[in-house]
């Protein structure tokens, strides 16, 4: 039986398969090192990246610090942000994109300003982290200002279940704490001061937890 080509469903680009990821835009020019004349970079940002480059024997070592810098500046590693870093470091944006997509802390899509990483790894999940993560998602309620993510081990299993709220480690958390955290961030208050990790003394000076908790 002959196949009628006009009856075969096709994607916009003419193929029957969905094709590449959206990240690959085949209509774009091949990436080259951005031209400083046409790539404006804020002065402070340029100075920060150049200071990082000066610290290392090979300036390329500064790619992670540079991406941290542009992410802080732009809120996420946008194509513009990466182009600016590439312009200062004299690398192709493609190279820096490859680096940015490798590491978990670089956001290559726009995210909320308040970053909450809830640890859902082994030690925390043994103490109910999955519940806390669900409660945190619920508390943030899809608010675009919040970037709530389940994260791999954050290295604070002594306060499990815990979360990193804009870099501040807090725990052990309960479901109710999640609402308090989100509320505190909305009002610009300090997050759970009594549960911050930085205030915790050595474990053997602490009392044993009540059993059954």
């Amino acid at each position: 039986m002959a196949i009628d080509p006009s009856r075969i469903k096709r994607f916009e680009h003419g193929s029957r398969v969905p094709g590449w990821d959206d990240a690959v835009d085949l209509t774009k020019d091949p990436a080259v090192v951005p031209d400083p004349a046409t790539t404006p970079v804020p002065k402070e940002l340029r100075a920060e990246i150049e200071a990082h480059m000066a610290k290392y024997p090979d300036p390329r070592s500064a790619s992670i610090p540079a991406l941290h810098a542009v992410q802080r500046w732009h809120g996420w590693c946008s194509p513009t942000a990466i182009e600016q870093a590439a312009c200062v470091m004299r690398l192709t944006p493609a190279y820096l994109t490859a680096v940015a997509t490798f590491y978990d802390m670089f956001d290559t899509v726009p995210t909320g300003d308040n970053t909450i990483y809830v640890c859902t790894n082994i030690s925390c999940s043994l103490r109910g982290a999955d519940d806390v993560y669900a409660a945190m998602l619920e508390a943030a309620g899809g608010d675009p200002n919040f970037n709530v993510r389940g994260f791999e081990c954050l290295g604070a299993c002594d306060i499990a279940p815990m979360a990193s709220v804009n870099g501040e480690y807090v725990g052990p958390l309960t479901r109710d704490d999640c609402k308090i955290i989100v509320g505190a961030l909305r009002e610009g208050r300090e997050v759970l001061p009594e549960k911050q990790l930085r205030k915790r003394p050595l474990a053997d000076t602490l009392p044993l937890e009540e059993s059954g908790s």
């Binding site: 978990d104 030690s123 081990c153 059993s211």
Partner: protein, 451 residues
């Protein structure tokens, strides 16, 4: 017996003034008056083994570095991401100067004049403390050219990572430090000969380097008397999971594991028993909570003999209320997420292990899946560039080995819930079916012709 945790909760120990008041930087002065070879001899005599996971003797590692005046590098591995491990976080946060002092002495012993501290990106607070401590040390003349008017010059840079477990692997860490994606390299050449920027590189864990000033203070032989014959010194152990007082505890190596889990950490909540425990982070094969295993001395060799490892020194306790399948799934998902994708056995092995565990949990599995899963783990071990694949294969393989009955019961339970009924025993398991006895099929005639 406390070395690293001495004066540990003293307020302001992270500042130079308090640290010097507590006797800080005295050992550096002493070490700089000695010849580098003498300092190295003390390190070798101490027998201190790496605290990061592999447990390789530090003195031996230093001695592998070539002599000469080429650029050599010291890298401190503070990319602590092993699930269950949080000792470096506390050490860095409360006593950063001890690390800096240890690094200066280690660099002196190895003839190194450039050093880096690779700290994981999530440790923002700790990295700030480290930056401040480094600035103070530089100001006081402990870092820079001709330290304390000696011949030793050292530059130090704090490098923040960005969230990748694999960057804790030494060669991946070097790639990441060079500004690349953190992919492990083929070894050899080992970093001691060709590491950072292709120069000879010494890589050590935070805790290992923090022991260096204490070794200089006590002398290598006196240090070697702490702990057991082959596992010398003290170890900071992170105990977490189902215990009543999770936290970091410093012990001389060789203490019974029971003392750590039940004595210091308070044991599991009342009415529960230890079902299994990871002795050395999530990469170590799990051990069952039997008396025999809990009485094991906590040192490198005893744990290795029992079929596990001390690893990074992180005990995760799993009590009897936790289904082992959940733990296996969490573990496998973690490694799937963190696999860098460079070599196939790890990239595919972690992925398929997760898929099979999900089959078990969703009720589609048959006991044959356990055999396949066990064989997948066997195919991963030893076949990758680095040990990330092995780090998943070992715990998962050990869980299937020790808790096979529970896995099978879980499979049956979930099948029942889905209304699928008991699994039909599979007879045609193929040549890759892996270890385990072939079972006599019940109720099925394997010779019957299927129409």
């Amino acid at each position: 017996m406390k070395l690293l945790f001495e004066n540990f909760d003293r307020p302001g120990l992270n500042t130079l003034a308090v640290y010097e008041d507590a006797g800080g930087y005295k050992q550096l002065r002493r070490a700089l008056k000695l010849e580098p070879a003498d300092v190295l001899a003390e390190l070798q005599a101490s027998g201190v083994r790496g605290r990061g996971g592999a447990g390789f003797a530090m003195g031996k590692k230093v001695s592998f570095l070539p002599q000469g005046t080429m650029d050599k590098y010291l890298v401190c591995n503070a990319d602590e991401s092993e699930p269950g491990t949080f000792k470096d976080r506390e050490l860095l946060q409360k006593n950063p100067h001890l690390l800096i002092e240890g690094m200066i002495i280690a660099a002196w012993a190895a003839g190194i004049n450039r050093s880096f501290i690779y700290i994981r990106g999530e440790y923002l607070h700790q990295a700030d403390i480290l930056d401040a401590a480094l600035a103070e040390a530089r100001e006081a003349g402990y870092i820079g050219d001709r330290i304390l008017r000696s011949d030793h010059s050292l530059d130090m840079v704090v490098h923040r990572g960005a969230g990748a477990y694999i960057c804790g692997e030494e060669t991946a860490l070097l790639d990441s430090l060079e500004g690349k994606r953190g992919n492990p390299r083929l070894k050899p050449p080992f970093p001691a000969l060709q590491g950072l920027y292709k120069g000879p590189t010494l890589i050590n864990n935070v805790e290992t380097l923090m022991n260096v000033p204490h070794i200089v203070e006590m002398g290598g032989e006196a240090y070697a008397k702490i702990g057991t014959e082959t596992s010398t010194g003290t170890k900071v152990v992170s105990v977490s999971g189902c215990v009543r007082r999770p936290g970091n505890y410093e012990i001389p190596l060789g203490v019974p594991s029971r003392e750590l889990i039940f004595g210091l950490a308070g044991g599991p909540p009342e009415g529960r028993t230890v079902k299994a425990w990871f002795p050395g982070g999530s990469s170590a094969p799990v051990l069952p909570g039997t008396d025999e295993m809990l009485d094991l001395p906590y040192d490198f060799d005893s744990l290795a003999k029992a079929g596990s490892m001390l690893g990074s020194g992180a005990i995760i306790v799993i009590d009897d209320s936790i289904p082992i399948v959940d733990v296996a799934l969490k573990t496998a998902k973690f490694y799937r997420h963190e696999s860098c994708g460079k070599c196939t056995p790890c990239r595919e092995g972690t992925n398929w292990t997760v898929k099979m565990l999900e089959r078990i949990d969703s009720g589609e599995a048959t006991p044959m899946d356990l055999d396949i899963m066990a064989s997948v783990q066997e195919q991963i071990i030893g076949n990758c560039l680095c040990v990330l694949g092995d780090a998943m294969a070992m715990p998962i393989g050990s869980m299937i080995k020790h808790f096979r009955e529970e896995f099978e019961a879980h499979i049956d339970m979930r099948r029942e819930e889905n209304g699928l009924g008991a699994a039909i025993p599979q007879v045609n398991r193929g040549r890759h079916a892996g270890p385990g006895p072939m079972r006599e099929p019940t109720g099925v005639d394997p010779t019957a012709v299927v129409v």
